[in-house]
Symmetry: D2
Subunit: 353 residues, 4 copies
C-alpha cells in the first residue's frame, strides 16, 4: 500500500542485470565507453532523431537545470507552470544553473498550461526594454505535476505560441513514458515533431536507479550543455553505469511495459475510488498519479494500517473527522493489482466504520 | 595492461551485491531510508566522529565544490595546490558552486604544498582591504595529484598554518583510502585529528560505481551544505542506492583491502621499473600512481601492444625516438600481479629492441 | 508638462554646489575621505542610529540588490510585492546579486502588501524540506510602486509578521522622503523603530544626481555588504563625490523640502483631476505619483501638445476614442504650480473638444 | 606632494562645468537623452568606429567585468597578466559578472605580457577536453599596472596570438589616455586597428568624477552587454550626468591635455629621481606612474613631511634604515611642477641627513 512516490519503489531487475553485465573489465571513463555509445544510439533511434545530442545525468533536477541553462540567458525569464517541479521542488536549481534567470509562473488548470494563457503571459513580459527580464524559454511538464497530460494538439499549440515569440521549448519528461503510454503516440511525435527543442527524458521514476537523459534536438546548443554538465559536477566518471541503466531501461521495450504497469495500477485505483460516494477527484487520472479526497478520519485509519501516501495541500492537524482532505497517490512500476486492491479494501473498511 | 585511470576499472562485486540487496520493496526517497542511516552511522563510527554530518553525492567534483561553497564566500579566494584537481580538472565547478570565488595557486613539489609556502602565499593575500579577494579556505588533496601523500606531521603543519590565519581546511580525499593504506594511520588521525574541517571522502576511484561522501566535522555548516546539494541537483531521489554503494564499500574493511591491492600493484610496478636503467621516476610512488619516464619509441611499442595509460605533460608528436617522455600509470583495485608483470615484460621487451 | 519620471528632472543646485565644494585638492579614494565620514555621520544622526552602517552606491537597483544579497542565501526566496521594482524593473539584479535566490510574489492592493496576506504567503513556503526554496527576507517598497504608503501601523504589522517567522525586513526607500513627508513621522520611526533591518535610502529620484545609501541597522551583516559592493563594481573610487551629493541633499533639510514640493505638486494635480467627471483614479494619491484614467482621445491630444507621461498597463493602439486609459504621472521636486496648472488646462481643453 | 593615486585628485573644472550645463530642465532617463547621444557620437568619431557600441558605467571595475562577461562563458578562463587589476584589485568582480569564469595568470615583465609567453600559456590550457576550463578571452591593461605600455607592435603581436587561437581581446584602458600620450598614436590605432575587440575606456583616473565607457567594436555582442549592465545595477537613471562627464572630458581635447600633464609630471619626477644615487628604478617610467626604491629612513622622513604615496610590496615594519624599499608614485592631471619639485626637494633633504 505504498503510493508515496515513484521514487520509493525498487529498480527493475533488468536494469540491475544491465549494470552487472556492464561491470566487466576496463572501460574508458567520462562517457567514452561503448555502453554510452550504445545508449545514445538507442535514444536517437527511438526518437527518430539521428543528429540529436544526448547527455546523461543522475537526477531530474540536473537534467532540467542544464536544459534551461542552455536555453536561457541570466537576464531572461523562463515561462513555466505555477505548479512546475522546476519552480516548487528544485530549491532554486534553475536559478543556480542559469546564473540567476527568473521563473515567470503561468496559471494552470489541472497542472496544464493553456496555450492562450501562455501567449498572454509571454506578451505581458518584456514591454519595459532593459528594465524587466527578457523573454526566455518555455518549460512544460509531461506528465504534469497534477497527473494530467498534454495531448498532441495541445503540445503543438503550446509550441506554436512559444516559437511565434521566437522562444525555445523545454519539456520536463520525468514521466515521459507514462504520458506516452496514455497518448499512444511515438516518442518523436510527443517531442520534436510537436516542437520540443530540448527534452529531459526521465528513467529514474520509471524503474531506473538514477539516470536521466537530456536530449537536445537542436545540435547547435549541445557543446555548451556538455561543458555545463561537467562544471556542475554532473559528469559521472564511471559513466558506463549511467549508460547501462539506460540501455537496460530501453531494451525490449521495458520502459514502455513499466509505464503501462504503473498507469494500469493507477487506472485500477481510480476506478475503485470512483465507485465510492465519499471520494471526490481533484484532478483527472491520466497516467500514474491519482489526486482524490476523502474524510480525514479515513486518512487516519489508512495511515494506521500502514498505507503510504502524501496529503496534498491539506493537513490532518485540526481537521474535522468528516472533512474531505486531498491526497496524491502515485503508482510506480512495481505496484500490482493486489497492492491496489488491498488499499481499496482498507479504505472501504475505514469508510464503513 | 590498463593503467589509464582508477575510473576505468570495474565496480567491486561486493558493492554490486550491496546494491542488489538494497533493491527490495519500497524505501523512502531523498535519504530518509534505512540504508542511508546505516551508511552515515558507519562513516561516523569509522571516523570516531559521532556528530559529524555526512552527505552523499555521485561525483568527486560535486563533493569538492559543495565543500568549498560551504566554506567560502563568493568574494573569497581558496588556497590550493597549483596542480589541484579542483583547479585543473573540474571545469570551474568550485567557481560555480561558490558563486565566483577565486582559486589562489600554491606552488608544490611532487604535488605537495609545503606548510611554509602556504603561509607565505596566504600572508601575501588580503593586504588590500576590500580590493582583493578575501582569504578563504585551504584545500589539499590526499593522495595528491602526483601520487604522493602528506604524512601526519605535514598534515598537522598545514592545518596549523591554516587555522592560525583563522581559515578552514578542506581535504579532497578522492584517494583517501590509498593514502591511509600508505600511512597506516586511522581515518580520524588523517582527518579531523589532524585539523581537517571538511572532507571529500571518495569511494568511486576505489571500487564503487559513483559515490562520494562529504564529511563535515563542524556541524555548524552542515545545513547549508544540504541545501546547496539539493540546489545543485545532487540530491539523488532513490538515495538508498548511493548509500548501498557506501555500505558495501565499507563493510568488512573492503575499502582498505581494495586500496591495499591498488597500492600493492603500484609498488610492484614501481619496483619493476626501478630495475630498468632507461626508466627514471618523475615523482616518488607512495600510493596507486606511478609517474615515470622512458624513451618515446618504447611508449609507441607499448601502445601498439594495447597498453593503456596517459603521457603526462609530454607528447609523442615530433618526439625523438630516444627522448624520455613522462607517463602516469594508475593502478585500480582490480589490477593484479599478472597485469603488472605483463606490462613490465612488454616494456622490457620494447627496451631491448 | 513633464510627468514621465522623477528620474527625468534636474539635480537641485544645492547638490551641484556641494559637488563643486568637494572638488578641492586631494582626498583619499574609496570612501576614506572626510566628505564620506560626514555623510555617514549625518545619516546616523538623522536616523538616530549611531551604530548603523552606511554604504553609498550610485543606483537604487544596486542598493536593493546588495541589501537582498546580504540577507538572502542563494537557496532562499525573497517575499515581495507582485508589483515590486525589484521584481519588475531590475532585470534580475536581485537574482544576480544573491547568486540565484527566487522572488515569491505577494498579492497587493494599490501596491501595498497586507500583513495577513504576507503571513499566508510565507506560511505557504518551505513545507517541503530541502525541495523548495527556503524562506528568506521580506522586501517592501515605501512609497510603493503605485504611489501609496504604508502607515506606521501597517509597517509594524508587516515587520511583526516578518520577524515572527524569524526573517529580516528590507525596505526599498527609493522615495523614502516622499513617504516621510506624507506620514509626518521621523526617519527612525519609519525604519528601524518599525522593524526595518536594512534600508535602501534613495536620493536620486528626489533631486540628487545618482546617490543612494544602504543603511544597515544590524551591524552584524555590514562587512559582507561592503565586500559585495566592491565585488559588484559599485565602490566608486572618487567616493567623495557620491558623499557630497548626500551631504548636499541632507543639509538644511533640503531633502524634506524637495519631497514636500513633489508631493505638493502631485496633490495639486490630483485635486485638479478630481474635479473632472471624465477622470477616474486608479490608486489613491499619497505621495508624488498620480494614477488616473481618462479617454484615449484626450491622451492623444495631450501627447500632441507635448505632455510627457507613461500610459500604465494600457496602450493607445486600437483603443476607442472614448475608452478610458490609465496613466502614471510623477511629479519631481522641480515640478511647480505653473507646470501642473498648464497640464490641467491642456487636459480640460482636450476634454471640452 | 600627493602621489597616492590618480583617484585622489580633483575633477577638472571643465567636467564640472559640463555637468552643470547638462543640469537644465527635463531629460529622458536611462540613456535616452541628447547628452548621451552626443557622448556616444563623440567616442565613435574619436575612434573612427561609426558602428561601435558604447556603454557608460560609473566604475572601471564595472567596465572590465561587463566586458569580460560579454566575452567569456562561465566555463571559460580569461588570460590576463599576473599583476592585472582584474585579478588583484576587483574583489572577484570578473568571476561574479561572468558567472564563475576563471582567470589564468600570464607571467609579466614590468607589467607587460610578452606575446610568446601568452601563446605558451594559452596553448597549455584546454588540453583536457571538458575537464579543464575552456579558453576564453585575453585581457591586457594599457597603461599596465606597472606604469609601462604596449607599443603598437607589441599590441598587434598580442592580438595576433589571441586571434590565432580564435579568442577575443579585451583592453583595460583605465589609463588609455596616458598610454596614447606616450605612444603618440591615434585611439583607433591603439584599439581596434591593433585588434582590440572590446575596450574599457577610462575617464575617472584622468580627471572625470566617475565615468568609464565600454566600447564594443564588434556590434554582435552589444545587446548582451546592455542587459548585463542593467542587471548589474550599473545603468544610471539620470544618465545625462554620466554622459556629460564624458562630453566634458573629450571636448577640445581636454582628455589628451590632462594625460599629457600627468605624464609630464611623472617624467619630471623620474628625471629628478634618476639624478640621485640612492634611488633605483623598479620599472621604467612611460606614463604617469613611477616605481622606484630608496632607503627606508627616507620614506619615513617623507611621510613625516606629509608626502602621500604607497610602498609597493615592501613595508616599513622592521626594515633596516638603509634598506631600499620600493614605492609607487602616481601623478594625476592636477600634479604640477611645483608639487613634483617640492617632493624631490624633500627627498633630497632627507637623503642628505
Amino acid at each position: 500500500m505504498q503510493f508515496a512516490s515513484d521514487n520509493a519503489g525498487p529498480v527493475h531487475p533488468q536494469i540491475i542485470a544491465s549494470l552487472t553485465r556492464a561491470n566487466a573489465g576496463y572501460a574508458p571513463s567520462y562517457g567514452a565507453d561503448a555502453e554510452t555509445t550504445r545508449a545514445v544510439a538507442m535514444i536517437r533511434e527511438l526518437f527518430e532523431a539521428p543528429s540529436a545530442e544526448v547527455w546523461f545525468v543522475p537526477t531530474g533536477t540536473a537534467a532540467n537545470a542544464l536544459a534551461l541553462a542552455t536555453l536561457a540567458h541570466p537576464f531572461d525569464t523562463v515561462f513555466c507552470a505555477d505548479v512546475a517541479h522546476i519552480h516548487e521542488d528544485e530549491c532554486n536549481a534553475p536559478e543556480f544553473y542559469t546564473g540567476g534567470a527568473k521563473l515567470t509562473l503561468v496559471p494552470t488548470e489541472h497542472g496544464r498550461i493553456a496555450p492562450d494563457t501562455l501567449g498572454r503571459v509571454i506578451a505581458g513580459e518584456e514591454t519595459r526594454g532593459v528594465h524587466g527580464p527578457q523573454r526566455g524559454p518555455v518549460s512544460i511538464t509531461q506528465v504534469t505535476e497534477r497527473g494530467t497530460t498534454y495531448d498532441l494538439d495541445k503540445l503543438r499549440a503550446i509550441s506554436e505560441v512559444t516559437h511565434d515569440f521566437g522562444l525555445k521549448l523545454h519539456m520536463d519528461g520525468a514521466r515521459f513514458a507514462n504520458a506516452l503510454d496514455h497518448l499512444g503516440c511515438s516518442p518523436a511525435e510527443m517531442s520534436w515533431k510537436a516542437g520540443v527543442d530540448i527534452l529531459s527524458f526521465g528513467a529514474t521514476k520509471n524503474g531506473a536507479m538514477g539516470a536521466e537523459a537530456v536530449v537536445v534536438f537542436d545540435p547547435e546548443v549541445a557543446r555548451t550543455l556538455e561543458l555545463r554538465r561537467k562544471r556542475a559536477g554532473q559528469l559521472l566518471s564511471k559513466h558506463r553505469y549511467l549508460a547501462a541503466q539506460m540501455t537496460g531501461y530501453l531494451e525490449d521495450g521495458l520502459w514502455c511495459d513499466l509505464a503501462a504497469r504503473a498507469n494500469g495500477a493507477a487506472a485500477r485505483l481510480a476506478k475503485g475510488l470512483a465507485a465510492l460516494d465519499a471520494v471526490t477527484f481533484v484532478h483527472p487520472t491520466e497516467a500514474n498519479m491519482v489526486f482524490a479526497a476523502w474524510p480525514a478520519r479515513v486518512h487516519e485509519a489508512l495511515f494506521a494500517k500502514g498505507a503510504g501516501y502524501h496529503l496534498w495541500g491539506d493537513t490532518l492537524d485540526g481537521a474535522a473527522p468528516d472533512a474531505p482532505l486531498a491526497a496524491r497517490l502515485v503508482c510506480d512500476w512495481s505496484m500490482d493489482e493486489a497492492g491496489v486492491d488491498a488499499f481499496l479494501e482498507t479504505l472501504r473498511a475505514a469508510l464503513a466504520q
